[in-house]
Amino acid sequence: MGVGTQQLDFAEFYRSAADECLRTVLVSIGDQDTARELVDEAFARAWASWRTVSRHPAPKAWVVRTALNASISRWRRARREVHVPDPGRVADLHAVSGTSATMVDPQIMAALMRLPARQRQVVALRLILDLDTARTAELLGIAPGTVMAHMGRAMTALRHDLQPALQPESQP
């Protein structure tokens, strides 16, 4: 495959996958600017390894995994004032900094951020990236049963968290 063809191929992939990957990473980490940066970096790495990535059974998942790995590396190496949010610290926020109210529903995002990181990743991969349980398990390196358990707990927690907010008129 020539470079020109590869580039067209990659451009098509980027156009079709960028939004979905960005949303998935955003739901996983909660900060829009960071998510954009991580996804851009992940796509750049995808282009750098396009021959491999293009043959991957789930290239979008590859990009998301790369972005999440980069996020972990950043967090490990970040200085105090650098701003990959730590899930433990954003749990009490009503809205997540960096997410614009016009683009992201702050209540839902805050509820997502209150979930443990792994549950949030499972939700992001299953609901936003639309991966099945087996692929999600493979991507996260956990058992399919664990994915289902995380998903079940996450849905229960989200329902519990969002129900009162969505139905204020039903409260006495």
Binding site: Q7, F10, A11, Y14, R15, A18, D19, C21, L22, R23, L26, V27, Q32, R36, V39, D40, E41, F43, A44, R45, A46, W47, A48, W50, A70, S73, R76, R77, A78, R79, R80, E81, V82, D86, G88, R89, T102, M103, V104, D105, I108, M109, L112, V123, L127, I128, M155, L158, R159, L162, Q163, L166
Partner: protein, 263 residues
């Protein structure tokens, strides 16, 4: 609210989020990633080959170099070398170095020397200083910033003969000759820029990887404005208070260029 409604709600909460980065920018960034991967093959390959045997002996001091006695017989040396660091000489004479792993200092020293930098690259025999930090990488510059440990005494109790002699260079001169752009961070690597052409005559640089500086002694009574060099180190205090000791530290200090020190 059933699962389907909840799932839809979560999906719709982010549907207005779109990637705005132009494809050209991604491709350009991807090319830079590729270039970083390619540079070791282009830069200093011959010098690296020359240093390979020594590199093995530095990495595995308890065994003789050579695959037969290697403690890692399955690791191809070339692959390890390529992963450890990359170097790229620019048209303006400056030299970019990306250190991915703290390995093969001799190869890096040989490559830098071949590119015109009077330099000593070494691993410390001392452990990484267990300083507590609240952040990740910390960068300290200037004379008081060193985590300087006294050189270890020899078995006979005498102070060791040090290979390098401190060169009193002012901060501006050192900053011109050696830089840590972005605090040395570059993705998962440490990124450094050398500008050998602006080093004062007779001066060189000593780079220390992995621990405290142990083959140069910081002199007393240096003039104000004299730079002691830079150190960068990684460590962290996790949110639950767990202290992760630094896995590596990295330092550079000006030295006199000499056969014993910078080759």
């Amino acid at each position: 609210m059933n699962d389907n409604e909840l799932s839809t709600m979560v999906r719709e909460s982010v549907t207005d989020v779109h990637s705005a980065t132009p494809i050209a920018q991604i491709i350009s960034r991807g090319r830079a990633v590729r270039a970083r991967r390619r540079t070791p093959a282009l830069a200093g390959a011959g010098a690296v080959l020359a240093g390979s045997a020594l590199a093995v002996s530095m990495l595995m001091p308890s065994v003789h170099p050579g695959a037969a006695n290697s403690r890692h017989p399955g690791s191809p040396l070339a692959q390890a070398r390529l992963a450890a660091w990359t170097m790229h000489k620019r048209a303006n004479g400056s030299i970019d170095v990306t250190i991915n792993e703290l390995r093969n200092p001799v190869g890096l020293q040989a490559a830098l020397q071949a590119a015109g930098v009077p330099v000593r690259v070494s691993y410390s025999s001392l452990p990484v200083p267990a300083t507590r930090q609240d952040g990740g990488i910390s960068v300290t510059t200037g004379y008081n910033g060193w985590n300087l440990a006294p050189p270890a005494l020899r078995k006979d109790g005498q102070a060791p003969k040090l290979a390098c002699k401190f060169y009193a260079m002012n901060n501006n001169a050192l900053n011109a000759a050696f830089q840590f752009p972005n605090d040395g961070q570059h993705g998962d690597s440490v990124f450094l820029v050398f500008k050998p052409s602006v080093l004062p005559a007779g001066a060189g640089l000593a780079i220390f990887l992995g621990g405290s500086i142990d083959d140069i002694k910081q002199p007393n009574g240096v003039p104000p404005g004299t730079s002691g060099g830079f150190t960068v180190q990684q460590g962290a205090t996790l949110k639950d208070g767990t202290v992760v000791p630094p896995k590596w530290s990295f330092g550079v200090t000006p030295v006199y260029a000499s056969r014993q020190c910078t080759g």
